[in-house]
Symmetry: C2
Subunit: 225 residues, 2 copies
DNA sequence: GAATGTTTTTACAGATTGGTAAAATTTTTC
DNA sequence: GAAAAATTTTACCAATCTGTAAAAACATTC
């Protein structure tokens, strides 16, 4: 009975949320915050339960285990990010490379500064991939990175070799993950306020400085010679 | 009596290591590996003791607490890296920018592939800086990043504005941390073996592609116009 | 309204954790 | 070689962890 509960993740035939569904959503939302703050092992079910305002065994009642909760969180979170990511790219391909990248960055930074969880969850957990005690939910991280790249390739007319496009993407995204996932550390090195507009501007400047020339080469491979 | 033990970290007046000093070194070496594999909280004293081949309370006898052990590990580790880093730069400033960067990268990758702990310890712990339960040893991470930048600035004649040099450095180092600290994840996205020579070459290519043009602009600010 | 299903709460359990204290053992000092 | 110091081992502890089971409470169905 309980296993059906856990697997039943489509809600499109329910007219209104029951109590169970409300509790479930509250746990998911709380877990999202806690998993974004701490690596999986340090993100205790007690912390999640407190943040959700529920009794701890409800986590197991609704999700089966902490690892399955992480999976559910990661699946939802990255799916939302993918959808949002599509919208970041609207109209970008019609602009010159630098302007296009600038617009994309504005949108991406708007989203990720309001929703820091994807970047943080990636950063705090990515190094545990490949460990013996790896949990299944971690695999959403590389899958997500690949998905984002496909979205980008489909929307922006890049002309370089696929391996170079992948390199571009991976470098770009890893810097986003580092700068947004470890804001306190980076901002401390820079002497900035991690939540301030200067730090956001710094990220944008850094990424434009680094990636705009490369993007131009990928869009117009012969015109910069 | 025990607090004197913990604080007594200079050994330059002892003719030969006693048993205690040997045990201490074994704990430090084991802790280095465990702290490089797991975030601080997940790096249990039991794991460290097992890796060191000692009984667990010896950690407290020699170091006082897990957090203090982390501090001792981080201090040693980053100091060693700083010294090694000096040698990576020998002769680099006499080469053209791309060649100099290539040589530096070869040396840096040689070192960090044999000693992955600095990058890993940074990556698995950097996002916890600024958290309420932050431990003092974490502060070695931003301090180390600043120290490395100073070493670089002293050895390589960069002409750009200090803020741009810092940006260059921070972008460069964060990518190294990501690519070396989370090898399994990155290599999975790339479809490579994380310990294979192709992945190492990929890192080098990525960093050269991204940073060689920028480095040239920082060394010869007017000659590329 | 009773029976059934769902949700929540309470209690429990084994395992693990960081740390402490005391006993045992080893080493050093005189 | 006895005493003192250093080191190691053993035993213990409170706290925390994830997870389970049962009881209680609530909601739904007929």
């Amino acid at each position: 009975m309980r296993s059906n509960r856990v697997q039943n993740s489509s809600r499109n035939d329910l007219p209104e949320e029951g109590k169970g569904e409300k509790a479930r959503e509250r746990i998911l939302a709380a877990a999202r915050q806690v998993f974004a703050q701490y690596p999986f092992k340090a993100a205790s079910t007690r912390l999640i339960a407190e943040a959700a305002g529920i009794e701890r065994p409800l986590i197991h009642y609704y999700f089966g285990s902490k690892a399955k909760l992480f999976e559910a969180v990661a699946r939802d979170l990255f799916e939302e990010f993918n959808q949002a990511h599509l919208s970041f790219l609207q109209g970008v391909e019609r602009l010159p490379p630098r302007e296009g990248l600038s617009l994309y960055l504005d949108r991406l930074l708007d989203y990720t500064l309001r929703h820091p969880e994807p970047m943080r969850i990636i950063l705090v957990n990515m190094a545990q991939i490949g460990n013996l005690d790896e949990i299944p939910g971690y695999q959403y991280i590389p899958l997500h990175l690949e998905e984002i790249r496909h979205i980008l390739e489909n929307k922006v007319p890049l002309q370089g070799p696929p391996s170079e496009i992948q390199m571009f993407f991976l470098c770009f995204n890893n810097l986003m993950i580092s700068f947004l996932g470890a804001k306190s550390c980076q901002a401390q090195v820079l002497g900035l306020d991690p939540e301030g507009p200067e730090y956001r501007q710094w990220i944008k400047d850094a990424l434009l400085t680094l990636f705009a020339p490369w993007l131009a080469r990928l869009i117009f491979p012969d015109s910069n010679r």
